[in-house]
Amino acid sequence: MSNYNTTTVNDVEIDKDKAKQLLRWIIFTEKNNTKTKAKNDQQMVAAIQKKIEEVVKCY
């Protein structure tokens, strides 16, 4: 059921709170990685995918 804190992208309802949580995580991770270069691009893509799946599944 839609509420004020959701939006729709490609017919899929997006929970903005989940999205906010993801954004915070991505910003933190990208900032760190820019400094440390610990992960390459492919690893970063995999990490973001994993995080999206975790967060979206949790709710």
Binding site: K35, M44, V45, I48, I52, E53
Partner: protein, 666 residues
């Protein structure tokens, strides 16, 4: 990025191994290196760029110390290296460039490839090496080459740099500035969520994860979308390459138009020159014809003209004594005399014997009778003389007239020649407008070709994108019907949402950072150069100088040397200050580093007032300042920088090939 030390081995005049440590203290962050002219200040400054990027501005590509090189024996090998220790993003790096030199048996030196390595201290304190293939990339991340010259710069070439800053830089330059300003975390996140074309990204990866067993069309649509993505990526690559080509061609067209304008008068001069050369041929031909006519006339009439007096005198004499001269006997021929002498008796019966009086009298008669009829000859001579004298009457006038015509042609020809020489001299420094025009036509065509190629590519890209959208939408309808695929669609939708959100945020943040940089640069510029000007940055980070006191005048203006120098300092200082600001916690998404300033002879181009301003501003703005100055500027630098100086060094120049870096007390 903070520079800790630089170790050199046999680099140019720095013989053997020599190390210089730099001031890294927050308050005392200035390192001053003094050196007389030719002692190696520029060499040391160039050692930084060679170490980091393998580039120098030296005309001589041989970096090996000449003194070491001379001492090498055949077969001996020596190496040049520069090792820079620095801290970047909290990691200690050791960046090394090394090049080998070998002398063969004939004494010729061969130069090896530069070997570039980056080592860093890992969290456990162990030294690790960046793989060779990634070294250049890591260097780009630490400090892109495009921007390095603004941090390692030569004060004597600062004017050119200012022009470059104002001329219009590449997209790469703008990206490098954005990265220094801390926006690279944004761009990485955006690229990781949805990279261009077929490159790996979160959204693209999900395309390959669909369960195709529920509907075979999903696999087909995915394949179509992959192909379209690949095509679009190719188009994007071409469009991106074309940007550089278009920039190059546009710059060429603009420069050629400027040159044509500057050299417009050369076209008129060239036309005049062609006319004069044509006239020269005509004049020479006429001169030759006239001279030939003059000579013909001279050869024909001059002897008679010069003999005129003689002929007149002769004619007068002949007229007066004509009767006396004609003593001939009518109808008597020389053969008659011969007959009389032969028979030995005259018709008057006088004996004629060789040598007697009669014989002699007869022989004298020969002069007056045919064939030597003197009367006839004289008559003929008279007639010839009269004619000749008559003909010479106009010779003088004709000759003088012809000669004056020739002189006129000669004067014309000399003037013509002088004008040609003058035009050639004036044309020497000018370019041929015809050639420039031909070049311009070539580039105009290239520009139009690029324009039509871009238009066709844009159209093709648009078609492919709408095609992809249509197929994606159809696939989307199918995938939503299947439980497994639906969850992938949900993840994709989140990734898309994050991508859109960050992209929008990036535009806002980039604009904010650029505006902020604009303010900072302008403020620093006004501090250094207190004239009625301000600086403005466009979206590609090109600097424009604006006149403050003339409302409505927004054109970029030509700058003086002092302004140019101030622009470059303001830009560098502004970027450095912004890079420091972006480290502050309120700038959540910005990641940047403080940067050092390494300056070769920065004060040489400034007047006393600006030296003081620059010396006050730079140590406050930059995290670290390394400054190479002439020994004669030492006092002024000490005076204005004294509370910021953390390290001092001086070059001890032994000879042209050997300099040693020595520590120096205050």
């Amino acid at each position: 990025m903070l520079l800790t030390s630089l170790k050199l081995k046999d680099f140019r005049q720095f013989k053997g191994e020599q190390t210089i440590a730099f001031a890294t203290d927050k308050q005392k962050n200035v390192t001053i290196i003094l050196g007389e002219n030719g002692s190696g200040k520029t060499s040391l400054a160039q050692a930084f760029t060679w170490c980091l990027y393998g580039k120098t501005d030296f005309e001589d590509p041989i970096l090996l110390c000449k003194s070491t090189s001379q001492a090498m024996l055949p077969g001996q090998e020596e190496s040049v290296f520069a090792e820079l220790k620095l801290t970047h993003s909290g990691t200690e790096y050791t960046i090394t460039s090394m090049q080998c030199y070998k002398k063969n048996n004939k004494g010729t030196q061969s130069v090896g490839q530069r070997k570039f390595t980056i080592a860093f201290k890992s969290k456990d304190g162990q030294q690790e090496f960046i793989p060779d293939l990634q070294s250049e990339l890591r260097m780009k991340e630490i400090l892109p080459n495009e921007l390095s010259k603004y941090f390692f710069f030569d004060g004597e070439r600062i004017g050119n740099m200012s022009k470059e800053l104002r001329k219009g830089r590449s997209r790469e330059f703008a990206n490098a500035v954005r990265s220094l300003l801390g926006l690279s975390a944004f761009t990485s996140a955006i690229s990781h969520l949805k990279g261009r074309g077929t490159s790996k990204s979160v959204i693209r990866s999900y395309d390959g994860k669909y369960d195709t067993t529920s509907d075979k069309r999903i696999a087909e649509y995915t394949k179509n979308i992959d192909e379209l993505n690949s095509d679009i990526e190719k188009i994007d690559d071409r469009l991106s390459k074309m940007e550089g080509e278009e920039e190059f061609v546009s710059e060429k067209i603009s420069n050629l138009n400027d040159s044509i304008k500057e050299n417009e008068s050369s076209q008129k001069l060239a036309e005049r020159k062609a006319k004069l050369i044509n006239r020269r041929t005509i004049l020479i031909n006429r001169l030759n014809t006239q001279t030939s006519d003059l000579l013909k006339n001279f050869n024909k009439n001059a002897p008679a003209y010069f003999a005129k007096k003689l002929m007149c005198d002769s004619l007068g004499l002949l007229t007066n004594n004509g009767d006396n001269l004609d003593k001939g006997i009518p109808d008597i021929h020389a053969r008659t005399i011969d007959h009389i002498i032969k028979v030995g008796c005259c018709i008057c019966e006088t004996e004629v014997i060789i040598g007697n009086d009669a014989f002699n009298a007869l022989n004298r008669l020969r002069d007056y009778i045919p064939p030597m009829s003197l009367g006839q000859l004289i008559g003929s001579f008279q007639s010839n003389c009269e004619n000749s004298v008559k003909n010479t009457e106009s010779f003088n006038n004709d000759f003088c007239k012809k000669y004056s015509e020739i002189r006129l042609f000669e004067t014309d020809e000399i003037e013509n020649e002088e004008e040609i020489k003058d035009i050639i001299k004036r044309l020497e420094g000018m370019q041929d407008v015809g050639l420039l025009q031909a070049e311009l036509t070539k580039y105009d065509k290239q520009y139009n070709d690029l324009k039509s190629e871009r238009s066709s590519l844009d159209q093709s890209k648009g078609n492919k994108e709408s095609n992809r959208e249509r197929i994606d939408s159809t696939r989307h309808e199918l995938t939503l019907k299947d439980k497994n695929n639906k969850s992938i669609e949900i993840y994709k939708a989140y990734a898309q949402y994050l991508y859109d959100y960050l992209s929008e945020d990036y535009i806002k943040e980039e604009t904010r950072v650029r505006d902020e940089l604009n303010k900072v640069i302008d403020k620093i510029f006004r501090t250094i150069y207190n004239g009625g000007f301000s600086l403005s940055l466009d979206e590609n980070y090109n600097v424009q100088v604006i006149v403050n006191d003339h409302a409505g005048y927004n054109e970029d203006i030509e700058t003086s040397t002092a302004q140019s120098i101030s622009i470059i300092f303001a830009f560098i200082a502004g970027v450095i200050q912004m890079a420091r600001t972006s480290q502050q916690p309120e700038n959540a998404m910005l990641v940047s580093e403080p940067y050092p300033l390494v300056m070769d002879a920065p004060l040489s181009a400034f007047d006393t007032k600006r030296i003081q301003t620059v010396c006050t501003v730079l140590p406050k703005v930059a995290e670290q300042v390394i400054i190479f100055i002439k020994d004669t500027d030492g006092d002024i630098a000490e005076k204005h920088l004294k509370e910021h100086i953390g390290s001092r060094a001086i070059f001890d120049k032994k000879n042209e090939f050997e300099t040693y870096i020595m520590g120096r007390a205050k």
